[in-house]
Symmetry: C2
């Protein structure tokens, strides 16, 4: 049985403030925790229903505190509206910014994505299309928000997500690398011949790419529409369409 102070301690990780302070976050659900245990991320504690342990006991590293809990306890410690068998406490990793001047392939920059579901979906999509880094403005939602971790379906353990000052970063590299930004006007996405290496910038759901960052972008790209009425696409849909397009040649070769 979990003591109430233990439950309180886990529940504090529902809040960004305490995640940052303790350098810990929660990963939940059968699929996500399985991906966690197969990744380089370090779990410190696992709380799960007996039926989860019956199937997964062997995959838990020895130094992880593993505790059997009741469905009621699961509900209390979970940050999700539909808890699913298991909650893990995980150490936040520290990823370093890669040397973008030596970049091969594409990476994704997110300027102010605020919806956790969108960020999670974008990380999952980046992973699918072989994009290893997602670099976020400090104004973007935190990647270890439980809803982001859930929507990313394990991809937070493979794609390296880093927060930084985007304008400073792009200023440094924009003369040496192609920087494409998704806007509501510019060059038609489906007419561009993309190079093998570059950066894709996606803006926030409500305001798009910030002015400061916009000014530093070499190529403005838009997804053409066949309808007069729609103003914009969902940010995670726009990101997916651009990611697919820059990787299209590799994808068609599979």
């Amino acid at each position: 049985m979990l003591s109430s102070s233990r439950i309180k301690n886990i529940r504090l990780l529902h809040q960004k403030k305490y995640r940052t302070e303790r350098n810990l976050f929660l990963a939940e659900g059968v699929k996500v925790v399985n991906e966690l245990l197969g990744s380089s991320f370090v779990a410190t504690e696992i709380f799960a229903l007996p039926q989860w342990f019956a199937r997964n006991r062997k995959t838990i590293p020895e130094n992880v505190v593993a505790e059997v809990i009741t469905p009621k306890e699961l509900e209390r410690i979970s940050a999700l509206s539909a808890p699913n068998m298991v909650v893990a406490v995980v150490e936040m990793p520290k990823f370093e910014l890669p040397d973008l001047k030596k970049l091969t392939g594409f990476l994704l920059i997110l300027d102010g994505i605020s919806d956790p579901g969108n960020l999670g979906t974008i990380i999952r999509t980046a992973d699918w299309f072989g994009i290893r880094y997602v670099i976020c403005s400090r104004s973007s939602v935190e990647v270890y928000n439980p809803k982001v971790v859930q929507a990313a379906m394990g991809s937070v353990f493979r794609v390296k997500t880093i927060y930084t000052n985007l304008a400073e970063l792009i200023k440094e590299i924009k003369d040496e690398i192609h920087v494409y930004g998704a806007f509501l006007s510019g060059d038609n996405l489906y007419k561009i011949k993309f190079p093998k290496t570059g950066i894709i910038v996606i803006g926030s759901e409500s305001h798009g790419i910030s002015e400061e960052v916009s000014l530093l972008i070499n190529h403005r790209v838009f997804v053409p529409s066949l309808s007069a009425g729609v103003e914009s696409l969902n940010a995670s849909v726009a990101a997916a369409l651009v990611c697919a397009e820059v990787q299209r040649k590799c994808l068609a070769d599979i």
Copy 2:
């Protein structure tokens, strides 16, 4: 001031049961209500803060009951976690299934989409890519769920969404029209030459396309991945990638 019985009556429309019974649903927020008022849908009542009426009074048809409310009342009648100025009560339209044998262009079939955000995003994307009909299995989430209406950002007023028995429908037409289904294996999406007319089937978030419907699909399509670890894409992302691809020739001509 709204009486408490009036508030209760509006709040009943948060629930599918009462929406169905009364043939009414709620549309909320500045953008969505503006799109509503420019559409063929019929609003019966509009409740909004004074500042909304100051800007939009002229766009309201004469026979619509329009009431100024307080922020507190807005919060009480809204079905959203972040209410935005205005709530409209809208009549549900009755859309007829089009004659699919005479179809030109593509239409989208959804088999069991359960997440309201996903359905809304798919309708918004379909609209963007000029797809006029979204046909859903009866197991799919209801299009007039407030979260669907919100995620679709006004596209529910342009794209016709119809619920029916998918297997019966596809059985009738599959010898005369190309039916493409998104699976985890099949033909590579980026190698297919699509015809000008056809149907795209997208399955549910957790189980994909149902067995019954799968058996009726002419062409199995998959979105290739450049990563070994990821099992699947978000359903609304998969739908967007397939929609873009079938319309690619038209899009590149814009």
